[in-house]
């Protein structure tokens, strides 16, 4: 427990501690910057194609040009970052367009809620969950940072491979009616992930000589195609056939206390899953959303409401995202290892401010900036939550626009957004092709989210598999080597067979369960 006392001592009693960080951060100018950053970030996040990484990377040089101080720069960028994350979730919920990898699963229940007129509560719980989990992660970072960094080092390629397998094991929760179709969708996604230059050998695969495909298929383009374009096609068909289903008018804007209490468990569990997954460099952030949703559904979906607009299905992944962002700061601060694209950009910013994360203890060496950064995360989260009282109202108004007008407009904005990222007409073609694929997938009841899961994790799956074997001279037992791997393997089995295991424990009714699941398949 010694380190806990040391940590507490750090946080509250060091020469320059958290309170001093707040004092440095909380000036009038900085608060204004935080508000502007959150608004700007939300706008950037709502635009399809531009995510948090691009937003922060492009804004950073501008802050240099504006001559802001270090503290102000950190606050502005932290606010932009949280804003973009939130903006991405907004489009997932309102329009079924996931803005980034981490908010794909939010579409599953979020969009259903919007259709039922509960967009307000969905957006609100997303903001509240992000706030609670974000604050929790920052506290976890302050108290347990250094000891947890050792866990990061324990996770090498074989362990990461097992984590990816664990994420895939939760796929059944995304699969909808048929497990077989869900698995087909995942495999299709993994196949898509093999397009481009291979990380180990540099060999170019399945690009048909197209230079632009060498870096692989862009997640955002596939996501917008599969989700948004195919949605418009489906709506168009419904309209032609006269089966138009309008959005139910939103009756409530804010979330009720009852709904909040109902989601609190999901927020805490999602936050914990996200925080620990965030510790793993590379694999972290994108897995967190899927993993937390899958686990939450596995453990809490007693009435089969997930996927049909269950508020916990929004709360869990949204909390996990934000907690993962906090968790990924631990390897960054203690080892100098950026765990995600955004932390890589943050590393660049910290280095340019004269901090070299990884050299000893950043809390001791440059307390001013680190505590200011942490304080600015609190402030960014809080401002975003406050801004959302009015913003949720504004966003929900979007759904008042009639579908026949709204969807084409979204389509146009999506196309312009995607084209603007790389100025490439190939991207437009790919997006359209995947729109058609998505349309037929819907027709055949093939779930779309597992395709994206496969696309996002396919590369991690393959590369960690090959790295493990390369580094251990082709020995397959490397995947069961050590307690971590064995623990992960057990977790995979538990997640896959949880219902059966529970029935075994309860003693009976296994037959029915099997009868049920075979009927489903």
């Amino acid at each position: 427990m010694g380190w806990l006392l040391t940590s507490l001592n750090f946080v509250f009693a060091a020469d320059f501690n958290l309170w001093d960080g707040f004092v440095a951060a909380l000036t009038f100018e900085n608060l204004i910057l935080a508000v502007i950053g959150c608004l700007l970030g939300t706008l950037i996040g709502v635009l399809p194609g531009i995510g948090p990484i691009t937003g922060v990377a492009i804004l950073f040089p501008i802050t240099l040009g504006l001559g802001l101080g270090d503290a102000s720069t950190l606050i502005l960028l932290a606010s932009v970052y949280y804003g973009t994350q939130y903006g991405g979730s907004t489009t997932s919920i309102l329009l079924n367009v996931p803005g980034e990898a981490s908010s794909v699963v939010t579409t599953l229940d979020g969009y259903q809620m919007a259709k039922q007129g509960r967009a307000g509560p969905a957006l609100a719980i997303s903001a509240i969950g992000s706030f609670i989990a974000g604050i929790g992660a920052v506290i976890g970072l302050m108290l347990f940072g250094p000891p947890l960094a050792e866990i990061t080092v324990q996770f090498q390629s074989p362990e990461k491979f097992m984590v990816v397998i664990l994420a895939f094991a939760t796929v059944s929760s995304l699969a909808g009616k048929s497990l077989i179709k869900g698995l087909l969708a995942v495999v299709f996604g993994v196949m898509l992930a093999t397009v481009g230059a291979d990380l180990q050998t540099g060999v170019v695969r399945y690009t048909f000589g197209e230079l632009k495909l060498q870096e692989g298929l862009d997640f955002v383009i596939i996501a917008i195609g599969l989700f948004a374009v195919s949605e418009v096609l489906s709506l168009l068909e419904d309209k032609v056939l006269g089966e138009e289903t309008a959005f139910v008018k939103a009756e409530r804007i804010w979330v009720t206390f009852k709904e909040f209490m109902f989601s609190l468990g999901a927020i805490i569990r999602g936050g914990l899953v996200g925080f620990f997954i965030g510790l793993l460099p590379g694999t972290g952030a994108s897995v967190a959303g899927f993993m937390s949703y899958g686990l939450e559904r596995r453990f809490s979906d007693r009435d089969g409401t997930f996927g049909k607009g269950d508020i916990r299905g929004v709360a869990a992944p949204e909390s996990a995202n934000n907690a993962a962002a906090g968790g990924s700061l631990i390897p960054l601060f203690t080892l100098g290892i950026p765990g995600s694209g955004t932390t890589a950009v943050l590393l660049g910013i910290l280095i340019s401010m004269g901090i070299r994360p990884g050299s000893g203890n950043v809390f001791e060496d440059s307390p001013e900036l680190i505590w200011t950064l942490i304080a600015s995360m609190f402030i960014g989260n809080a401002i975003l939550l406050l801004l959302n009282f009015p913003l949720v109202n504004v966003f929900v108004q979007i759904l008042r626009i009639p579908t026949w007008f709204l969807m084409p407009v979204i389509l146009v904005i999506s196309y312009i957004g995607v084209y603007s990222v790389n100025n490439s007409s190939l991207d437009i073609t790919i997006m359209t092709i995947f729109g058609v694929i998505g349309y037929f997938a819907r027709k055949m009841d093939v779930p779309l989210a597992p395709i994206l899961l496969g696309l996002i994790l396919g590369d991690d799956l393959e590369q960690n598999f090959r790295r493990s074997l390369l580094a251990d001279d082709g020995n397959y037992l490397t995947f069961l080597n050590g307690p971590l791997n064995i623990g992960l393997a057990i977790a995979v089995v538990v997640v896959l067979f949880l219902p059966q295991i529970l029935d075994l424990i309860r003693g009976g009714r296994i037959k029915e369960e099997f009868a049920d699941s075979s009927a489903e398949v």
Binding site: A197, L199, Q200, G202, I337, M353
Partner: protein, 345 residues
């Protein structure tokens, strides 16, 4: 569209600090290019109308840093107006170079960020149908250096010990880094192995997605040697998380406690310079202008700060000197890559 978005963000940025920027766009140089007097170059010096720097990658990487920092300093030093950075990712630069060669080969306002990775890709024919001498090499300012690093508890305490072990059994030591076979980090292994007479194809190489992940693999014992750069290992070395057997360079680095390969008696060096290229048909006046402007940036105190902040050492290689150096590097990279099937047909 990229510009549009940047303009959009800029406008919002300006709204942030309403009065901060004094000079509006009124002082944009209005060069009367339409006039046929351009032949009288000596009387009317070249000035770019809409200077642009292409980073052939997504925002956030080394090329992006080069464009944004040097672009900012071009303006800061009074050489140009506002320099726009355009990100044109794809194929490790192949998309950008193909587009520029085909469509903007005579654009006098255009510069392209480059590094040894650019030279390696030219050498391996990865910029399909393009050769390094089809572009003009403006100059390089600032360099990072490659390193050979191991864990602090590694049995190898000197480069000689590592070399002896690899010579005895080339398959016994696992190397790794942040690029694929034939990429920048692996090239350090190719160069060193060639020098000591070991077939690099026999040395195990594990590629990671960036130097950070590779360092984590070194800490965790998955790889035994990490061939990263000085800038990305600075913090870890200071903290004692890794041991650097050699910096692949010829000069010691302040605050970086490691010997150089040259002082250890080896010849392998690997400077990772940051530089600019220009399209092949740029006019001589424009080329001279950019060489001169880059020279001014290199000499400025602002660059000294930005350079040091990003862990780069001073380097000044301009115009013809840089062209000769870079084309020579491309040749030797090609010679090294050929035996391992790394050169595309």
């Amino acid at each position: 569209m990229h510009r549009l978005r940047r303009v959009f963000i800029l406008v919002l940025g300006l709204a942030l600090v309403a009065a901060a920027c004094g000079n509006g766009d009124s002082d944009a140089e209005t060069d009367t290019t339409a006039a046929p007097t351009t032949t009288a170059a000596s009387s009317e010096p070249f000035a770019p109308e809409s200077p642009e720097c292409v980073a052939p990658s997504d925002p956030g990487g080394g090329w992006d840093f080069t464009c944004r920092t040097i672009g900012f300093l071009f303006e800061n030093q009074g050489s140009t107006g506002n320099v726009i950075t355009t990100n044109q990712p794809g194929g490790g630069g192949a998309v950008a170079f193909a587009d520029i060669a085909a469509n903007r080969s005579d654009d006098n306002d255009l510069t392209i960020a480059a590094s040894p990775a650019t030279a390696i890709r030219f050498a391996q024919n990865q910029y399909t149908g393009l050769e390094a001498d089809q572009f003009r090499w403006i100059g390089a300012i600032g360099a990072d250096f490659g390193v050979i690093s191991v864990r602090p508890d590694s049995p190898f305490t000197t480069l000689d010990e590592l070399v002896a072990a690899v010579k005895a059994d080339p398959g016994s030591v696992v190397f790794g880094g942040g690029s694929p076979q034939g990429g920048q980090d692996h090239f350090k292994v190719l160069l060193l192995m060639t020098e000591i007479g070991v077939d690099p194809a026999l040395v195990p190489w594990v590629a990671y997605d960036g130097g950070g992940e590779a360092q984590n693999a070194l800490f965790g014992g998955e790889i035994e040697v990490f061939t990263g750069d000085v800038s990305e290992t600075f913090g870890s070395l200071e903290a004692g998380d890794l041991r650097v057997l050699a910096v692949l360079g010829d000069q010691r680095i302040d605050g970086y406690d490691a010997p150089t390969s040259i002082e250890l008696g080896y010849t392998t060096i690997f400077p990772i310079w940051r530089g600019l290229l220009a399209p092949g048909d740029m006019s001589d006046e424009a080329y001279d202008f950019w060489v001169d402007a880059l020279g001014k940036v290199e000499a400025s105190p602002e660059w000294a700060v930005a350079r040091a902040d990003n862990g780069l050492l001073p380097l000044r290689l301009m115009g013809d000197d840089f062209t000769a150096y870079a084309l020579d590097a491309v040749d030797s990279f090609r010679t090294l890559s050929l035996p391992y099937g790394l050169v595309a047909p």
